[in-house]
Symmetry: C2
Subunit: 408 residues, 2 copies
Amino acid sequence: MTASTSPLARPFPALPAIDGITLRVARARYKDWDRADLTLIECAKGTAVAGVFTRNVCCSSEVELGREQARLGRARAVVVNAGNSNAFTGYRGREAVEAIMAQVAAHYGCQPSDVFVSSTGVIGVPLPQDKARAGIAAAIAAEPCDWEDAASAIGTTDTFTKGAGASALVGPVRVELAGIIKGSGMIAPDMATMLGYIATDAAVAPGFLQEMLAKANAESFSCITVDGDTSTSDTVLLLATGKAGNAVLESWDSPGADAFYAALRQVCRDLAHRVVRDGEGAQKFIAIRVTGATSDESARRVGLAIANSPLVKTAIAGEDANWGRIVMAVGKAGEPADRDRLSIGFGGVWAARDGQPLPDYDEAPVAAHLKGQDVSIEVDLGLGEGMATVWTCDLTHGYISINADYRS
Amino acid sequence: MTASTSPLARPFPALPAIDGITLRVARARYKDWDRADLTLIECAKGTAVAGVFTRNVCCSSEVELGREQARLGRARAVVVNAGNSNAFTGYRGREAVEAIMAQVAAHYGCQPSDVFVSSTGVIGVPLPQDKARAGIAAAIAAEPCDWEDAASAIGTTDTFTKGAGASALVGPVRVELAGIIKGSGMIAPDMATMLGYIATDAAVAPGFLQEMLAKANAESFSCITVDGDTSTSDTVLLLATGKAGNAVLESWDSPGADAFYAALRQVCRDLAHRVVRDGEGAQKFIAIRVTGATSDESARRVGLAIANSPLVKTAIAGEDANWGRIVMAVGKAGEPADRDRLSIGFGGVWAARDGQPLPDYDEAPVAAHLKGQDVSIEVDLGLGEGMATVWTCDLTHGYISINADYRS
């Protein structure tokens, strides 16, 4: 966290301790730095887990194993390594993950498959097993820490620590949710995105936990993009300890399921927005609202085509209401669109309607809107009822500086 | 052409006059500038035409009409307007195109459908009919000019004029090809890309002319990308006057068809490379060679995923042999790939083989290669026989400066 803090940063929120979750960090020194870079999340026995993972087919061993483990629905511990992604390291990378799982399982007296591992950082360097072993021993011996310490320890190029929380009533029982996330580049949707960990004391059956996480993911992490690049390591885990004592949520019919889902979605969206706000070089937070599409999924794809267009992103960086570039991005999305029904606006002011610039279009309020940090783009395709919102940031000199200099 | 010339620029080549083609330019003053911005290409009676056009569904009226006209296979004239793309301008834009077609057709005594129109520049402003009318009248009255003058007149943000030529023997007859092109941003494949005009004195049947242009397009313009953005106006026209007097090329079985195609492909590739060399902010020309894919098309898609990755493009700008980012881009391409069979090299030196970094990898020759202007990336997927080469440029501060400042 050496780069200057993003101008779009949000302060780390007050997050509750989650009954059944204990956080610890240690210095494994995966890189030549003096900071905590190994995080150990201890989960009470009986904790249910759900996970969503990158769809990048060149994923890391951590992701390959984690995807299998998540199907079992149980977690006793999570280990997060920062500074080395251990991706594209062949059998040596896999051995390093299995060694961590065995060491932690021996300590807690659980199955290795109850221990989840994530790693983030440089690709192509096998995770050094000696550093991991010593780091885990140090973490086990360490005093528990809070969410902000853990959020700091999982970060790499992040310029601020990111967390979000919410609570919900499940029947008469108040349950808490707390989550942390890291990520600022190599961020694209169509995957689980980044490293994120959300914990709750609610009791939720593993299958339903997975269903809710997948749904919340589709409405949050899958709707953000920084650079259209999809990491090989991205993971979001949701841990439910059950310590709150509510009647177990089994399905959407369970009393309180909707309230719990609403809180979960809020946490996921809040975390996703914070990742965009730490987008490499970001100066503006952009919400793209697409309506009138033939389906919600089509609306999302059109939104992402806009959000991933370098020409749109640079126009917003230049505070230029260049709706012609948005027309272009809509047209290249590969989704149903009709040029002559298309309408485009900024900050709630239409610039073009039904395929033509508005003759009385007043650019002054739009220009004022674009000077702000939070920019909205409205696109109405005029075809159907599908809608989606997608979030991204602008593309600036800062992105180039960060990524042309970041050393492999 | 006010920005400083691209460091990757190539001098305009010596191009032959094409018998049956007469070039003229004029000042329509579509923008507040003092330069030729209207080009009139007169074609001899009997000229065959083929065209490939943008797949952007929000395309301009010029493209909509041109696509229909190209099916008829005849051209008597081409008009190219620079400074205003006339895209997203509704019925007024269409009227402007039809007025140009009618004016030129009246002059040459041909059908309006024999007159092709292209426009390039700002989106969303209807082409002013009065300026077009006066510009065409001036062009008709003007002295003929050469290919370089025409290449200059069709340019907008281009930093150098671009042309390419070749000749071929069709039976005993030598035929000539000459082409010009414009484009430097909003360049992506999966379409006909940019504005390009290629003329030949060869006699070719229209249907076969179209078949050859489509094939050459797939191996040239469809394999380049600058920013992944697809213009609403892109067009490549191939005009064959038949004045060389060769036996008409009717199919691949016609004597000389292969030689003519080879020359056509060479011209298309040369033009395509020049567009990449004028990529906005480009400092390096990058060739990405993908082998071992399950099909040629799959190889092309993997190559384009790499070529469109902002993280790969910034790494090359930073002269960083960051093959981890290439692994990431391969994995997100959505094509068959196996992490453990993947090999990656730079300038002919393998950095990783079969999913792991090479233990004896010597970065020194790679570092030296990356310091040059021409960079090659080799990716072997290890799965099959499919292969493709894709060309792009790096992503630099120059791209941001150009596109955050360019005014809509």
